[in-house]
């Protein structure tokens, strides 16, 4: 079991030998058993929570929202006007997505989302945030040097494209509507959704070009 120091800018190094359980592992186990003993938490509820966020809720939800906005002009307008209502109508309501704003990328403007103060993120459409989103590096730099951060992701935007960085300081959650890639005329929603990566909905990536699917995020 690894106890590595994710979110601390150390990348993927493992923090020590895994033959012994780390103090953190022991501490979490002790806390959980104490809470169970006191009746403060329910074991089956903990498992259900983990399964929900690890297996059921993830960025494929957001990809379907984006794909629909690309093919359905009325939905697109609704999504930009009242993001929460449009997203909830697709069956993705709930915690950390109660109030939503969708911001649209255009040839002139690129949007990026961060939470400099903690890790606010639209869970119902994107699931739990990836490690880098919670990292000190992303939280510190994205507001001051968004172009540098984008370079870390291999994204180079034209100098004259304006960047808007949305710092999620309130309970409003942000989703980026990426630009629809060229060469996708006539594609249906399901096929288009394959081009929508998690990072393209945070603004650290772009939607994939046709034929580039399967290349990860």
């Amino acid at each position: 079991m690894s106890d590595h120091d994710n979110g601390h800018g150390h990348g993927h190094g493992h923090s020590g030998e895994m033959s012994e359980l780390s103090p953190t592992v022991l501490r979490v186990r002790a806390l959980e058993s104490l809470l169970l003993e006191k009746g403060l938490v329910d074991a089956a509820a903990l498992d259900e929570l983990i399964e929900t966020y690890e297996q059921r809720i993830g960025p494929r939800n957001g990809a379907r929202v984006v794909a629909r906005a690309w093919v359905d002009a009325n939905f697109h307008d609704w999504l930009l006007r009242d993001g929460a209502a449009a997203i909830h109508s697709m069956g993705y309501p709930g915690r950390q997505g109660e109030d939503m704003m969708v911001v649209e990328n255009t040839p002139d403007t690129h949007n990026m989302v961060v939470c400099t103060l903690c890790s606010c993120y639209p869970w119902p459409v994107l699931g739990l945030p990836p490690a880098w989103y919670k990292s000190e590096s992303y939280r510190a730099r994205s507001v001051r040097d968004p172009r540098g951060v984008l370079k870390d992701f291999g994204v180079n935007l034209p100098e004259n494209m304006a960047i808007r960085v949305w710092d999620s300081t309130s309970e409003m959650r942000y989703l980026v509507l990426p630009m629809r890639p060229g060469g996708t005329d006539g594609w249906d929603e399901n096929r288009l959704a394959e081009l929508v990566t998690r990072d393209s909905m945070i603004g650290t990536g772009l939607a994939l070009a046709p034929g580039a699917q399967g290349g990860g995020q």
Partner: protein
């Protein structure tokens, strides 16, 4: 508070590692901490802003040395004792004190789906006067409260423009410190990147920050 959590603009953390195929959890204990945090939150002994404030109060050196879910763990330890759900002795020993109260869990497995689907919006329906309109120039106040605030340091004293009125929302500063649900208007305020960071920033770039009315003052 001017804590370690208020990271916007800081140097020294290196490049971002995009880790495209990285797992959501890097160890099983991280899963457990996430779930414990959500299950304990359902008890209602503390609110989300108090949880955030507990994370912010992790001492700065410890905050930077900790991983993300370790910070949550430290914050939960603090809250559990502070709110009287556990004693410090129980936390240290990992054993319930003899004769101590046995609770009933606030969240059972069958409650998880409805509770998560319902969520809990921070929007409030109080009808309060709106001080600013879209396009107004405003200044973020230069305040440094010891308590919880969602006005990041990098924006304080800076001038921006009201971009959108989000509506009336629960004011986190009061919610964290007094548990009271005070209603305040919340706005998306756009700051030119050069106003925040000087001439090195892109001329057309902007940072948009959601700010509540008490954080703002009019600019004539």
């Amino acid at each position: 508070m001017n804590g370690a959590h208020d990271l916007g603009g800081m140097h020294g953390f290196g490049a971002v590692d995009p880790d495209p195929d990285g797992p959501l959890f890097h160890a099983d204990w991280e899963r457990r901490v996430l779930a414990i945090n959500l299950a304990l939150g359902a008890i209602g002994a503390w609110n989300l802003d108090q949880k955030r404030y507990a994370v912010e109060n992790v001492p700065a050196g410890q905050y930077f040395a900790a991983s993300y879910y370790q910070r949550w763990l430290y914050a939960l330890d603090t809250l559990l004792v502070e709110k009287g759900l556990l004693t410090a002795a129980e936390l240290a020993s990992g054993k319930a004190a003899p004769g101590s109260e046995k609770h009933r869990p606030a969240l059972l497995a069958a409650d998880v789906k409805p509770a998560l689907s319902r969520g809990a919006s921070a929007r409030m329906d109080d009808d309060i006067p709106v001080r600013f309109k879209v396009g107004d120039t405003v200044r973020a106040r230069n305040i440094h409260p010891r308590g919880h605030t969602r006005l990041p340091r990098y924006a304080r004293g800076k001038t921006g423009r009201i971009m959108r009125h989000h509506g009336v929302f629960l004011f986190p500063d009061i919610h964290a410190m007094e548990s009271r649900r005070e209603a305040q208007n919340c706005y998306a305020v756009s700051f030119a990147a050069r106003e925040l960071w000087g001439d090195d920033a892109g001329p057309g770039d902007a940072v948009i920050i959601d700010l509540w009315d008490p954080y703002l003052e009019p600019v004539a």
